[in-house]
Amino acid sequence: MTTELLRIDGVTKAYPGVVANSDVSFAISKGEIHALLGENGAGKSTLVKMIYGLVKPDSGSMALHGQPYAPARPSAARNSGVAMVFQHFSLFEALNVAENVALGMENPPPMRTLAEKISAVSTEYGLPLDPTRRVGDLSAGERQRVEIVRCLLQDPKLLIMDEPTSVLTPQEVDILFQTLRQLSAEGTAILYISHKLEEIRALCDEATILRRGKVVGTCTPRDVSARDMAEMMVGAVLTPPARSARKDWGDAHAALEVTGLSAASPIPFGTSLKDITFSVQRGEVLGIAGVAGNGQDELLLALSGELRSAPEMVKCFGSPIGDTPPNARRALGFVAAPEDRLGHAAAPDMSLVENAFLSGAVRKTLTRNGFIDWSKTKRWAEEVVAQYDVRTPGTWVAARALSGGNLQKFLIGRELSQAPEVVIINQPTWGVDAAAAAFIRQEILDRAQDGAAVVVISQDLDDLLEVSDRFAALNEGRLTPARPTEGLTVDEIGLMMGGAHGMEVAHHG
């Protein structure tokens, strides 16, 4: 078990204006599950891209099996036995499983042989997959299995997994971990990238912690508390969000009331909403969990006004608004933060000032007789940047020039600083670092305290458990009845989210 598989030695990689990795060294042994832990922008992605041959280091060296290792491209890395499962899947929805796997291979065998191989590998590792099913019909967890099986077919010595659990239910996570442990027992090393500390404690043998491109510590996760690891990762002491007792606003009607909402998805391969019913009072946070692709995007569209429904299906303080467009809802106090930042919540090539105007025009009265008050918009954008600690050279930069986490802070700030009555957020902390996530959660709670009704849709259970008063889950476009968050167990939450989506526990053959 102590034989060294991969050694990284003093690797440095700089991009214009930022050093992504500075003198990073660590080693992975055969069969070891090694965690790479760090905030967003800490340099995890750059590091694994170098190992996978997507990026070349400026200096430093790598060695695989004691031999110098410098893959020029991913195919070279794959030939050396390094495989990677990306956070975002690269699958074609219109093709079936076997066809997708074949597309990633240099010399794919005949389809029938390949299908047999897929079935064999997937049953061996407890990842049941039907090679003839179309990927567009698979759940996110099943799609991940396709990616994993695709890697396993190459018989890898090192498997890199980038944030693999963000799309899984707790039960699916358990099953994935069993598969990974089985692989590890067979001698495959796993480089596991995550910021979810409890998972790392449950799974990993060793951890390397990165902060601002440098290795700031190594530890054996089982022996260290999650809190200590988080503080090493952030370099500061974290305070969990504080919440005070809820006020009773004594309203006759709920701030947001959704009754029997059904709507066809406007998104290709999307999930239609089926008979969704819930209500949120002022000062209350409703958390909506669910694995990606179960109707979260559609629910946000239906609440923001981008997807219209029958008037009575959505009500605000008792008045029907299901058929009103986004800006009419904003006038009533609605704000919405979609999950997809570039292209939906923001226009990538427009400046932060223009992007501030995009959703703030109505509530911040940034227009006069149809003419835009740019100086007022700019002042407000600067306020958001300052208040939400958005790291940017200025408000004139294009939205796409910001890192994911910084843009998320800006976009959440843009919505929450509009004195909202009803807040709908999809994936509030997606891709932001631990400190920023804590800050965003606190801001959400503060808005609720100010009297806003808040709906948080998230795949991150930590988000939901920390902020929500009541908890519901989306599964294939249907919403479970909401239950008080207090006292819910992770098992119960998992079952609300649809259990294990038919997964089996790994059984080694």
Binding site: P326, R330, P338, H344, A346, A347, D349, M350, V397, R400
Partner: protein, 360 residues
């Protein structure tokens, strides 16, 4: 070897430098083409770009410049709004023709009444005609999701058929001794689009073009609608999130571009062209598409691009008569301009990095 690297933000410098670079590259490649045709490339380029402004006949040709640039700019400004929003009105030529027929029709209907209201009413009629013609693809798109590129383009040919019917039939000059073509507006002062300053080429259409440039500039920089147009073109989903109604935008953009093209046609028929004739359509509606892109879909850029394009027209005509260049060579030359413009456009969003070298 080199690679292309996406810039974090679009380069301000290259946004303005690419049109200039495109003109220079066109001169080089065009010069090479003229050399291959056996002409002296320097004389050819000089004839096209220099002589109309400062040569022997410049006093006359400078006026021609505004006459040609006016309709190009007027149409291109309208088109650029739609293009920015991702709405592709390719049929400005047809809207130009229908605008001319409507405008001329109103004027000719009341011939020979002399009142100062005739010309303003003709302006309104011309704009209305262009708008009406543009509404056909707009409504078909919003109602039945047809492709506005195809429909607006096809309607150009319909408009041309109507034009020849007008010239030989319902608008034919009753005193024209059977020749095709309407009465000439030069003989009808009240309905005439006069040259405002002698020999300058400045007529009401040019004034309208300048007004359109300024209005479009203000619209895009300061007005909500301009913002929505830009947003819809750059990020359609973000536009819906911002409350932009795509159908309303289609109708508005098609309407504006159609009305401006119609205006251009009306000013042309009552001024420089003088009459509705079979060969009235001279391709302004198509060339304006090049002008719109050459000007980077920016109103001020279009103003300059319209003047440059007019220069290649006027100069090109000179070159083909003086140097015996085939007119196809001139068209190829104008085509090169668009080609290079689109090609070097890449530089504003990407940088070229030489492998083992520094970024450019």
């Amino acid at each position: 070897m080199f690679v292309l690297e996406k810039r974090p933000s679009p380069s301000q410098f290259w946004t303005y430098a690419t049109p200039v670079l495109a003109v220079i590259l066109t001169m080089i490649a065009g010069g090479a083409m003229f050399a291959l045709l056996g002409k002296d490339p320097f004389i050819a380029i000089r004839t096209i770009f220099w002589d109309p402004l400062f040569g022997e006949f410049a006093f006359y040709l400078r006026g021609q410049l505004l006459v040609k640039a006016g309709p190009l700019i007027l149409i291109a400004v309208g088109l650029s709004l739609g293009f920015r929003a991702g709405i592709w009105n390719i049929g400005a030529e047809g809207q130009y023709i229908i605008g001319a027929i409507f405008g001329a029709g109103v004027g000719l209907a009341v011939f020979p009444t002399e009142t100062r209201w005739i010309f303003p009413v003709m302006i309104v009629a011309g704009a209305f005609g262009g708008w009406l013609w543009a509404m056909i693809p707009a409504i078909l798109k919003t109602r039945f999701n047809t492709n506005e590129i195809l429909v607006s383009l096809m309607l150009v040919y319909v408009a041309q058929t109507i034009l020849s019917k007008a010239a030989t039939g319902f608008l034919r000059n009753p005193q024209g001794m059977g020749f095709p073509g309407s009465r000439n507006f030069s003989t009808y002062p009240a309905a005439r689009n006069v040259e405002l300053i002698q020999e300058s080429g400045m007529h009401w259409g040019v004034v309208a073009a300048f007004i359109a440039v300024i209005a479009a500039y203000v619209l895009l920089q300061r007005h909500m609608l301009g913002f929505q147009i830009k947003l819809a073109g750059q990020a359609p989903r973000a536009a819906r999130f911002a409350g932009v109604q795509p159908t309303r935008l289609v109708v508005l953009c098609m309407g504006i571009s159609g009305a401006l093209a119609g205006l251009a046609g009306m000013f042309e028929v009552s001024g420089p062209a003088g009459q509705i004739s079979i060969d009235f359509a001279s391709g302004y509606g198509f060339t304006a598409i090049i002008v719109a892109f050459l000007g980077r879909l920016n109103p001020l850029g279009i103003l300059l691009a319209g003047l440059v394009m007019a220069l290649t027209y006027v100069g090109g005509e000179m070159a083909s008569t003086n140097l015996n260049l085939p007119s196809a060579a001139i068209q190829a030359f104008q085509g090169m301009l668009l080609f290079f413009l689109l090609a070097v456009d890449l530089l504003s969003n990407y940088r070229i990095r030489l492998l083992n070298g520094r970024a450019v």
